[in-house]
């Protein structure tokens, strides 16, 4: 009985993973080719066609400036997904190294790195993002930096605790005895062993980063208009929800689908690789 349930859950997990992976890849491809396939210029205003519902000409209607919502959602995917993928990747790169160094060397190095990342971690990601974006001034770059800093301590913690486990393995002692340097041991022996859990975490944090980027640009702290991002489309749409509900509704649906897809991949990978991972 229990076997049957776990087998079903496993296949279910794989289906979820496959669906999530397909949607995520499709979104990334769409974002890359967006400039060539948008049916209309996403910045082109026309007051004659403002606030229309979906039609053959405008698949998802128009916003209150008469801009084509479908084209804007596609163009917005470029901004939202590039921030959503680049920022956690930067955070992962920096965080993994800091975490490995802390976990490998221990002592005061560990204390300094852990204390500072714990301090950052005590702030909710959105609040930290708002604080940093407020300090840097609203722009595309500051959204990337804000999100990267907000996610950085999560990777430090994960890679530090994973490194501490690996460090106790005999092959590390063997490498030290063989005279290998610390950096080389971390790169050759520690990193490959903690890589799996870090990839799961990265996928899940990409989902969070897309949501964070949307929240920041909704607050006016991310990519600046007229360039469309999903978050600032909702922000724009708020001013005329009665006349033109389409931009806000479609941009929000796009955010939800993207976040859902990356979450599905991450969840399924986590179930398959290691149910114990705590992100």
């Amino acid at each position: 009985m229990t076997d049957q349930v776990s087998v079903r859950a496993y296949i279910g997990g794989n289906k979820v993973a496959a669906a999530g992976m397909t949607i995520s890849l499709a979104l990334i491809v769409l974002a890359i080719v967006a400039p060539w396939i948008v049916p209309q210029d996403p910045l082109d205003q026309s007051f004659l066609s403002a606030g229309q519902g979906p039609s053959a000409e405008h698949w998802l209607g128009t916003d209150s400036f008469g801009r084509d919502v479908f084209s804007r959602v596609l163009a917005g995917a470029r901004v939202s997904l590039s921030i959503g993928i680049v920022a956690p990747t930067i955070a992962a790169f920096a965080g993994i190294w800091c975490g490995m160094v802390a976990g490998y060397f221990g002592g005061w190095t560990d204390r300094t790195i852990s204390r500072s990342s714990d301090l950052l971690m005590s702030f909710p990601t959105l609040l930290l993002g708002v604080m940093i974006a407020a300090a840097l001034g609203p722009s595309f770059q500051s959204a990337v930096i804000a999100i990267a800093i907000a996610l950085f301590p999560r990777f430090v913690r994960l890679s530090r605790s994973a490194t501490q486990v690996v460090k106790r393995e005999p092959f590390i002692d063997a490498s030290i005895a063989a005279g290998r340097g610390s950096a080389s041991i971390m790169l050759r022996h520690v990193l490959p062993n903690i890589g799996g859990s870090l990839i799961v975490a990265l996928t899940l944090w990409i989902a969070t980063a897309i949501r964070l980027e949307a929240a920041l640009s909704f607050l006016g702290l991310g990519a600046q208009p007229p360039a469309p991002s999903w978050g600032n489309m909702i922000r724009d749409g708020m001013s005329d929800l009665v006349g033109a509900p389409w931009p806000a509704a479609c941009a929000g649906a796009a955010i939800t689908i993207a976040v859902l897809a990356f979450n599905m991949v991450g969840d399924a990978l986590r179930d398959m690789l290691d149910p114990e991972i705590d992100t």
């Binding site: 909710p124 609040l127 929240a215």
Partner: protein
Amino acid sequence: MIAYIARRLLEVVPTVLLVLTLVFLALRVLPGDPAVAALGEFATPAAIETFRHKLGLDQPMWRQYLAFLSQAVMGDFGQSMVNGTPINALLARSLPYTMELAAAALLFGMVVGVPLGVWTATKRDGAADGIARIFALLGFSLPDFYLGVLLLLAFSLHLDWFPMLGGGETFWDRMHHLVLPAITLGLVMAAFIMRLTRSSMLEVLRRDYVRTARGKGVAERWVIFKHALRNALIPVTTGMGIYLLTTLSGTITVELVFSRPGLGQLLIGGISARDYTMVQAGLVVFAFFVVVVNLLTDLLCAAIDPRITLR
């Protein structure tokens, strides 16, 4: 225990100092002169000089820093750079709106999330599992402000059941304004709390004392609520601090959706108006909440599980 409390309280001091310093520096290293931002591009040099003098911006950096520190510690944030209103008055007016939203959302999250978690942990068939999975995935994927926009469209614009804008004045009016924002944030919280309750319940239900209770012939309902839930709720309770902070930061976007005159609106308004003193005050207040809530959570955890104090 007393030693632990003292140590934990002492740790707060460097944290607060560091946060205040970062807030101060962040706003000073920014390109752009706040005086020019407040008075406009075409202000005369004399007017800018007067403005800088009035706000102490012509003082050396270390004096500004000391003045800022002593004011922040005393809880006096000066006046708005843009319109000269005392910031403390603005904070006093907007704080209640943020507090009532965070409290209502957290309450909603607990009331919905805990029973759902228990139900999906005990009824481990397809339907309950599916509901748990979908609810959790949606809770983590649907941005709270988008949910707010959808609720606003449906229940304020089309059905006209709830007011669209503002925070309300009299008690019932405020409650009426609170419903949609609280549900918006509360549903997301409910998903978090459900997932935590569920995994904690599943963990506890495997324990020996639950098997013993069942073996003794204790009724299943009694086993779940008396033996399992009480223990399963410990991580849920200690996780409250994280929920509270997540909810608090969630109020920033939700306030903007529903145009509630809260703390988040002040902060975001300050950022877009380049009102440096306002931004400073908003950031300090939010950071203050983070530090206090973390402190209280740690003390609560120590009270529930005294082993923590020995670390």
